[in-house]
Subunit: 137 residues, 4 copies
Amino acid sequence: MAKEVIYTQKVEFGDCDPARIVWFPNFFRWVDAASRHFFVECGVPHWSETEKTLGVIGTPLVDTRAKFIKTATYGDVLQIHTAIAEWRGKSFVQRYRVMKDGELIMECEEVRIFAGAREGGGIRALPIPQEIRRLCE
Amino acid sequence: MAKEVIYTQKVEFGDCDPARIVWFPNFFRWVDAASRHFFVECGVPHWSETEKTLGVIGTPLVDTRAKFIKTATYGDVLQIHTAIAEWRGKSFVQRYRVMKDGELIMECEEVRIFAGAREGGGIRALPIPQEIRRLCE
Amino acid sequence: MAKEVIYTQKVEFGDCDPARIVWFPNFFRWVDAASRHFFVECGVPHWSETEKTLGVIGTPLVDTRAKFIKTATYGDVLQIHTAIAEWRGKSFVQRYRVMKDGELIMECEEVRIFAGAREGGGIRALPIPQEIRRLCE
Amino acid sequence: MAKEVIYTQKVEFGDCDPARIVWFPNFFRWVDAASRHFFVECGVPHWSETEKTLGVIGTPLVDTRAKFIKTATYGDVLQIHTAIAEWRGKSFVQRYRVMKDGELIMECEEVRIFAGAREGGGIRALPIPQEIRRLCE
């Protein structure tokens, strides 16, 4: 069984659009926060630390797919259940289930990498740091 | 051949994160703008108009998948090539190719609906309005 | 003494810019959330409720001034102390002190109105609803 | 007479809130883009360049005041007129007038600094680089 971490997110007025529901890019903002929160809860240091020790500056996305099942609006409180579903050589699969009042309203599966800075700007994929993987399993 | 519309987006400082590249939820903000821009360019009226004539308040997402191929940073200018790949009974598939200097850096495929307001809050899927479909083909 | 309500905000990776500090427009996103949260904590119903009972659809800004004293970065937790400093005929002054580890890092003072929808789009200022004012004093 | 640069900004669906008008923090996103655009148009290199040559990583805010005069909604196109109103020893005042269809809808005046990275994280104010000032006058 993979570790699961729950991230709580309040929905605010400004997160909603003229149709009065969450504007969908905001779900990705929250999923990204849930992703980092997962590592923090597993004991992985702040990226500004890992940059010095492992060269890791963050975990950017390679690929994502998401399903929007029900809407949410301001005043709602969401729980984002997060786990790592698969470890690969230079990437990993992170999964999210966004719940509102016990119901699944959005789900998302991403492929991410551990990124290092590349000479001259941009980023490159690093091999999965084993000390990070051990903390997250 | 489906109609294709190009939306131009400048990348700004605040669109980038501490890794100095576009923070990925911003790509979804821009893809959503390109989606609406597609309808505008095809001659579909503003949603505040279609709300009165057709009950359509917008085109929310049901499903999305996206691939992040190369990064972008502030100062870059992106072209988002947008088309409708498929029309279904109560939904449609919209496709985006985000280009930088002639290179594909992100692609995205979404299932969207034409939404009407539902009594008591929230939204519901409407059958594809044929007058809108005719403008977009 | 005016009522004071505290809103807690975590700073996330995507809230920060290439200088690795909070990109300042995000402070206004949080201040806006703190504003609404203030009313919720005082017992004012959701704007979708007040729209039906009082015609109030929200509390948009007329005027703001803010001072940025210290920076914050992801991993920080902020407390936003919020109060209403003054009630006027058709507007009110809302004050915010954003604290990090007990230190003031940003302060903001806004003039806001209670807005109703205007025929044909846009908004208009309503007289301060006395039932709302009573809850907030 | 100070140099003036105009930045054009389209308002999108997702920039608007449930009251169907621009959610105000978005004005600050655009003002920030107009600020950087001003320097770019004056011939100042990209901050990633000035970081190497002058140690300047950006121009964060110290202080801002803004007035919201009229609303805007999606489909609107805004022109942001930008100029530097005053140069001080370690800061400068930047002014913005946001126009819609020839009418002033928002104005903003900011104090900003030229920031360098500080040892151990955070930023510090640098003396105004004279080569930048000359380009902008």
